[in-house]
């Protein structure tokens, strides 16, 4: 007898039309990182969560900082993060960058990095997943997501598409 089991495979591309500044010490959802797995039957799955995004030092910061430290957490929910909000153990991490120009704003455009958060979840049975982020403090460690203010060798605003993949394995 053969059993055919459909497995989850989600690709979610988000075209951003604004930057997301991370300059608060309260956690906020990372735009483009949330997904509805539509797992209404709460089936247990092994899956990977992979999210590609970009971060740079906050160019609008009034402080003389030239680095960032952003705390990130993977969260799950069954009610679209209304009241059921859970940090997933083992998947809290930092992204950070520094430069030789720290202490001035001269080199903040050297801090632009792309990241791919890649996390495997075992026996996962929730419906929603997302990443949340906050800054280490509100002064010297703030960042900006989804693009930057320099391109083609000049001051030029651009936006970076995020890509989320959730694949059952």
């Amino acid at each position: 007898m053969t059993y055919k089991v459909d497995k989850l495979c989600i690709f979610q591309n988000t075209s951003h039309t604004s930057h997301q500044t991370i300059n608060s010490t309260s956690y906020t959802e990372v735009s483009g990182s949330k997904c509805d797995l539509n797992n209404t039957e709460q089936r247990n799955m092994n899956l990977f969560y992979k999210f590609n995004f970009q971060c740079g030092q906050n160019p609008t910061s009034p402080y003389s900082d030239d680095h960032y430290l952003i705390h990130m957490k993977l969260q799950s929910s069954n009610d679209n993060f209304s009241s059921d909000i859970n940090d997933i153990p083992g998947f809290k991490f930092n992204i950070a960058h520094d430069s030789a120009y720290a202490g001035s704003t001269a080199g903040h455009d050297y801090s632009i990095m792309s990241y791919t958060a890649f996390m495997i979840l075992e026996n996962f049975n929730k419906r929603y997943l997302r990443l949340v982020a906050r800054a280490y403090d509100t002064t010297n460690f703030t960042g900006m997501l989804h693009g930057y203010t320099f391109f083609d060798g000049a001051s030029s605003t651009y936006y970076y598409d995020t890509l989320l993949q959730i694949v059952e394995i």
Partner: protein
């Protein structure tokens, strides 16, 4: 948009390592350390052309003096039954930076993806890390700062996935 299909990956095998302690690499240049959570034995799906080895882990620059440099190189290795050796010099990866000013910024979230030619039978794989120069070791898996302050006993899971395509 959501797509549902019967199988997204061919013969996926994965390993999630929950760390309860940090792992220090060698402080001597070119002395390799096997990254905990990076070792796996895998046999490709029959008839497949490629094998993907994908891993994420967390590292901290231990050379956290101002302008403390940190340059790491990584090699993916295979075991032939008697010795471990690098699979291919074209698969080498690097990461690094300087700790220019603030120790809070000395972190690396590392995600690596290798696409390898498929092979017959099972094979052991692992990932090694070494510093490019003396006194440039890293501390793996441990998170020192979180939620705006010092963190204690906080570790990031290493995720490893291998599959055929």
């Amino acid at each position: 948009m959501t797509f549902i299909r019967s199988s997204a990956l061919l013969k996926p095998e994965f390993l999630v390592t929950t760390h309860t302690s940090s792992q220090e690499t060698s402080n001597t240049a070119n002395v390799s350390t096997v990254i905990n959570g990076s070792s796996i034995t895998y046999e490709p799906y029959p008839g497949s052309n490629k094998v993907v080895y994908e891993i994420s882990f967390y590292a901290t620059n231990h050379n956290i003096t101002q302008y403390g440099e940190c340059a790491q190189y990584l090699k993916l290795e295979e075991y032939n039954g008697s010795i471990w050796s690098e699979i291919s010099s074209t698969n080498r990866k690097n990461f690094g930076s300087e700790s220019a000013n603030a120790i809070q910024t000395s972190y690396f979230y590392v995600h690596l993806r290798y696409v390898l030619p498929a092979w017959s039978g099972s094979k052991q794989l692992r990932l090694t890390i070494a510093a490019a120069e003396n006194d440039e070791k890293v501390v793996l898996h441990k998170i020192n700062f979180f939620d705006g302050g010092n963190a204690t006993s906080m570790f990031y899971n290493t995720s490893l996935l291998v599959y055929s395509i």
